[in-house]
Amino acid sequence: MEAYIVKAFRSPVGKAKKGSFQHFRSDDLAAVVIRHIMANTPGLEPAHIDDVLVGCANPEGEQGLQIGRQIALLALNKDVPGMTINRYCASGLETISIAVAKIRAGLGSCYIAGGTESMSMIPMTGYKLAPNYQFASKTPDYLASMGMTAEAVAKKYEINREDCDAFALRSHTLAAAAQDNGWFDDEIVPIEVPQVWVENGKRKEQQITVTADEGVRRETTLEALAKLRPAFAQGGIATAGNSSQTSDGASFVLVMSEDLVKQLNLTPIARLAACAVAGVDPLYMGIGPCAAIPKALQQAGLTLQDIDLTELNEAFATQALAVIRQTGLDPDTVNVNGGAIALGHPLGCTGAKLSTQIFNELRRRGKKYGLVTACVGGGQGIAGIYERLS
């Protein structure tokens, strides 16, 4: 039985450690988005939900205790189960693909799938770095940090600093324009954040409502970007300005069987035509989409020419440029509203967030096929192809 995406929402994306969600937990954030889905889907009851699938890249600490189940309890009720899925930056797309696959296999009829991440609260490599000794002693490059992989890709694919900075500027410019045009307004769920703090020795309290992504730098220029020092490697080209921002965010979609869609009299917005993952050398992690995209195209029986729009996660400008050039993607159709360099990259949330964005942009443009793709830590790529239905 076919599975459909019926709803898709996301939180605004906060700047990690200094933004509005620095003290707002990612399970709470997820719960708000999921309740928003429930409230906006007439006839949908918690009892319809077979499972809540939550992507999360560092499910420990505040994101521990099997955060999928915690979110189901927070957002819905004790009778709805929840599961945590981790494929690092692909997690949010992977959960959607699992939900679709389960429905097509007849294992269920209704799922909430997406992801959430607080990079404010959990360090990038988790609280304890404990790799395998064999690995660490024989092939330590397999454990390379993300910044080092960005440099490795730049070197191998001859990406230069100027192009990276120009790409970063484009990301901010397009994101600012999209914000000005209100193109994210429909998909963003406003988040009420309670704040209690001490100022001048006095307890203070307020509630703020966050409605917009916080990472966009409208005032940035090529000159300002060019001045930044390499963030990772001596003599490197990846900087804080041309790398994705660390962020906090949550995004979820409602995936439903054809039967249930009809029963509740809902309108599907898209279907997942294909979704594939692939492995690559971990040192060249950023090139992962190049291996995943052909697999997804083949699954869908499409060619690159059929793809109208692409959301390519901008982990780093180096890898985004390398992927665009290696795959032959049309740069003008990639990240038309900016990408993670401007809008942020809340790891486990990103796949769902990019999906949500592409549904709306396909609709706005009246286009059919959208590709969501990302490189994945540990040397992987993911590519999902959506067909817009309404």
Partner: protein, 796 residues
């Protein structure tokens, strides 16, 4: 008793901000005020942040400057800022108010009038002026204000230059003057010198004379400036900058201002003619070639590198006023001086030569003797005050009267008079009275001649210091080529390193073992390890290691490393307390030794680090083992352990050196429960002795540890991954990674398949084996050789 807690610093220029930072270093709550940001737009005029922008920027700039004005960046939290218009009332909460505003009497007087409106009676007020008579500043002020007012003259940069001149006015209460003399020494770590209210006070008056005289002699003798800098730098026991490069560093506008000030304000000075701006200096001033701050002065850096990759400098030819490449001029005396370590012998040697270099030194020193002695009692009552000021303010190894003592009082008089200098009656009178030196030493204390009484007086401040130099008349308890063991009183011994740069060789290791044994077997309460050299120690004697490694004498090398380990272990495992007193570099083997002591009393200016990685080795004298112990001791139930491990690993793997003693706590070299910091460099051995005495009351020899938790493979995996990051990021070479992996190996106890408790001796064995394996590496030997030849680390 007067106590200081809150201090206001008025004026946030280079000096004001620097003073504020040093007061923060000393633990005071500082209020730094300057004028409201000028030229504010209408809408910003009531915005406090905008109004304080000037002071905030000035402070931020100071904090960023090098060398760092703060012991630790976090100490900036101790400084609050504000402006003189909105916040001056806050001085009512201050115990001391320091004025450091622009050098204009009317502005200062006006400010003091405003300060008086808010100041509490009894609050101390001082001015940091370097050129305005102190007594003029309090005109119109109340009696209470005048009684609590004096000059406190810091030197730039305030953290690093040790001199603090205290200048009372006739109205200053004697208790206030005495308070600052003690407070400056005990709380700010300064050498305080009582100065009179005379132009430029002591240090600048004499120091600038010395500079002006050398400027004059250089022209007379037609010498190139770079050669004069060599002659008047380390050869004369003065900083490497010598004379002309120091001028470039200070700035010629500033220097000229001081020279002019003295010339105008001291019309009766017999050397007034020396305080003239020479034509070549005028040339620099006219062209705004003011020194380092304008990119050129006497020296000009050109866009070239020499064959060794060093920047090339051109020098100003004083005759042609053109810049040119320095010619390789030298003199027999200058060459001979390089072979003589002792300053006294070197100075005497210069009087035995007759080349132009020697002549310059002779004439400048004899002029200095005459000038300094003629300033008593004009600027100071006793010679020691002048010597102290020059040593602490200009970083001279010896002041004029100490240099004179090295030559001999009578010889000095004769030579000076032969050179046309006039020596004052009080000096002639000393000879008549049968005295032969300005200083004498008795019972470990130093005495200075006092012209007014014709007797020797004990120099004040010695009740809280121990100077090993003043103990040299007593027979050492023990000595060898590299150490002297002193009896420093109250049953405590002090082991002084005496090797070249205090490098730790076999003599020091044996000396340490012997000293501990002597203390254990005799009636001694404990041992201090300390000295007064510029650097506590530069680390192990690399030459010794290199020789054995080159000749592949592995058994000997193994024994030598074992001796090193057993010696540092003895510092902890003996039945007497052992306390180290450090200053300057505390590198490598020195750091390993102090980490094993029962306590460390570190002068704030201690630069501590396990730097072995820089020469291709790992700490092999127990230092890596000790880090493993400290890592283990910091584990808490349930914590993830690996983060502590990575932090400590990085410290050794990057050869991190603390930029102050306080920073050494964060790096794990010092520990809060057993180690302490003193601001005053002269007090560290005294404080170390006090610590030994306190520990000796209840001292029990510690038991060797067999409960050191190491993480084995689990930890190694994390460290290997971390080390690989350094390589991928080009922060480290392949050989760096090889060394880093050895460090990891020791810290984790090797490739144990699980976390386990091990003994210190097991870790020492692992450490020694890792050290030895690196000694067999060609690239390590290249690093060692490079360090021995150039004094700089090689990255290969």
């Amino acid at each position: 008793m007067r106590r200081i807690q809150h201090v206001a610093v008025l004026g946030a220029g280079v000096m004001g901000a620097g003073i504020a930072c040093h007061l923060a270093n000393a633990g005071f709550q500082v209020l730094l005020l300057d004028i409201v940001t000028p030229g504010l737009a209408e809408d910003k005029q009531s915005n406090p942040d905008a109004r304080n922008q000037l002071v905030n920027r000035a402070l931020a700039q100071s904090i960023k400057s090098k060398p760092a004005p703060l012991y630790q960046k976090e100490y900036a939290n101790r400084i609050q800022t504000g402006n003189l218009t909105d916040d001056l009332h806050r001085v009512k909460d201050c115990d001391w108010i320091v004025e450091v505003v622009v050098e204009r009497l009317d502005i200062k007087q006006q400010l003091f009038a405003q300060v008086e409106e808010h100041r509490r009676p009894g609050t101390l007020v001082t001015s940091n002026t370097s050129g305005i008579p102190i007594h003029l500043m309090t005109e119109g002020r109340s009696e209470d204000f005048k009684r609590h007012f004096c000059g406190t003259h810091f030197f730039n940069p305030p953290r690093y230059l040790r001199l603090l001149e205290i200048i009372p006015t006739p109205d200053t209460a004697p208790e206030v003057t005495q308070f600052f003399l003690d407070f400056g020494a005990n709380y700010l770590g300064k050498k305080t010198v009582l100065a009179k209210d005379t132009p430029a006070f002591i240090a600048n008056r004499i120091g600038v004379y010395a500079m002006a005289r050398i400027y004059q002699l250089t022209e007379e003798l037609g010498l190139p400036i770079d050669v004069v800098d060599k002659l008047t730098g380390p050869a004369l026991g003065r900083p490497k900058t010598g004379t002309f490069r120091l001028g470039d560093l200070v700035g010629h506008d500033t220097a000229a201002h001081v020279i002019e000030g003295i010339r105008q304000n001291c019309p009766t000075d017999e050397q007034a003619a020396t305080f003239q701006i020479p034509a070549y200096l005028k040339f620099l001033l006219d062209n705004k070639f003011l020194g380092n701050k304008t990119g050129q002065g006497f020296y000009k850096k050109v866009d070239e590198k020499d064959e060794k990759g060093r920047s090339v400098y051109h020098i100003l030819n004083l005759k042609t006023l053109a810049y040119q490449l320095p010619e390789k001029v030298t003199f027999p005396s200058l060459e001979a001086g390089k072979q003589i370590d002792d300053l006294g012998r070197r100075v005497n040697m210069f009087f035995e030569h007759s080349d132009d270099g020697a002549k310059l030194i002779q004439k400048s020193l004899l002029g200095l003797f005459a000038y300094a002695s003629n300033r008593i009692p004009e600027i100071a009552d006793e010679p020691y005050r002048i010597d102290d000021a020059l040593k602490a303010g200009f970083a001279w190894e010896a002041g004029p009267f100490e240099l004179w003592d090295m030559i001999g009082l009578e010889t000095g008089i004769k030579r000076a008079e032969a050179a046309g200098e006039t020596i004052p009656a009080w000096v002639q009178d000393m000879v008549q009275k049968g005295h032969s030196t300005f200083y004498t030493i008795q019972n470990g204390r130093r005495y200075s001649y006092q012209p007014s009484s014709g007797t020797y007086i004990e120099i004040p401040g010695q009740s809280s210091t121990i100077q090993l130099d003043y103990l040299r008349h007593q027979a050492p308890v023990y000595q060898n080529d590299e150490v002297v063991l002193h009896d420093i009183g109250e049953g405590v011994l002090c082991l002084e390193f005496r090797s070249k740069m205090n490098a730790i060789g076999e003599g020091i290791l044996r000396g340490l073992q012997e000293s501990i044994q002597i203390a254990e077997e005799g009636e001694w309460k404990g041992l201090v390890i300390g000295n007064h050299a510029q650097n506590f120690t530069v680390g192990a004697n690399l030459m010794m290691i290199a020789m054995m490694a080159y000749q592949q004498e592995w058994d000997e090398l193994n024994m030598a490393i074992n001796l090193f380990q057993q010696t540092t272990m003895r510092c902890r495992y003996s039945n007497i307390p052992v306390v180290a007193a450090t200053q300057g570099y505390v590198f490598g083997g020195g750091c390993e030794a102090i980490m094993h002591c029962d306590g460390v009393v570190a002068a704030a200016e201690s630069y501590i680090g396990l730097v072995e990685v820089g020469v291709g080795l790992i700490p092999g004298g127990g230092g890596t083992k000790e880090f493993a112990v400290r890592i283990s001791d910091s584990f808490r139930e349930g914590d993830v352990q690996v983060n502590t491990l990575i932090d400590h690993f990085k410290t050794i793997a990057t050869a991190a050196v603390s930029t102050s003693a306080y920073e050494a706590y964060g790096l794990g070299y010092l520990q809060p429960e057993k180690d302490q910091v003193v601001l005053n460099l002269e007090q560290h051995i005294f404080e170390a002795r006090a610590r030994v005495l306190a520990l000796a009351e209840h001292y029990v020899q510690p038991i060797q540890r067999d409960d050191v938790t190491v993480l084995g493979r689990g930890g190694l995996a994390a460290l290997y991954a971390a080390a690989n990051e350094l390589k991928l990021g080009k922060w480290a070479s392949e050989h760096d990674i090889k060394i880093a992996r050895k460090v990891a190996w020791v810290l984790c106890g090797g490739d144990l398949t699980g976390s386990q408790n091990v003994s210190e001796q097991y870790l020492l064995d692992v450490e020694r084996e890792a050290f030895m394996s690196l000694c067999g590496e060609q690239k390590t030997l290249e690093r060692v050789q490079h360090m021995l030849q150039t004094g700089k680390p090689l990255r290969n």
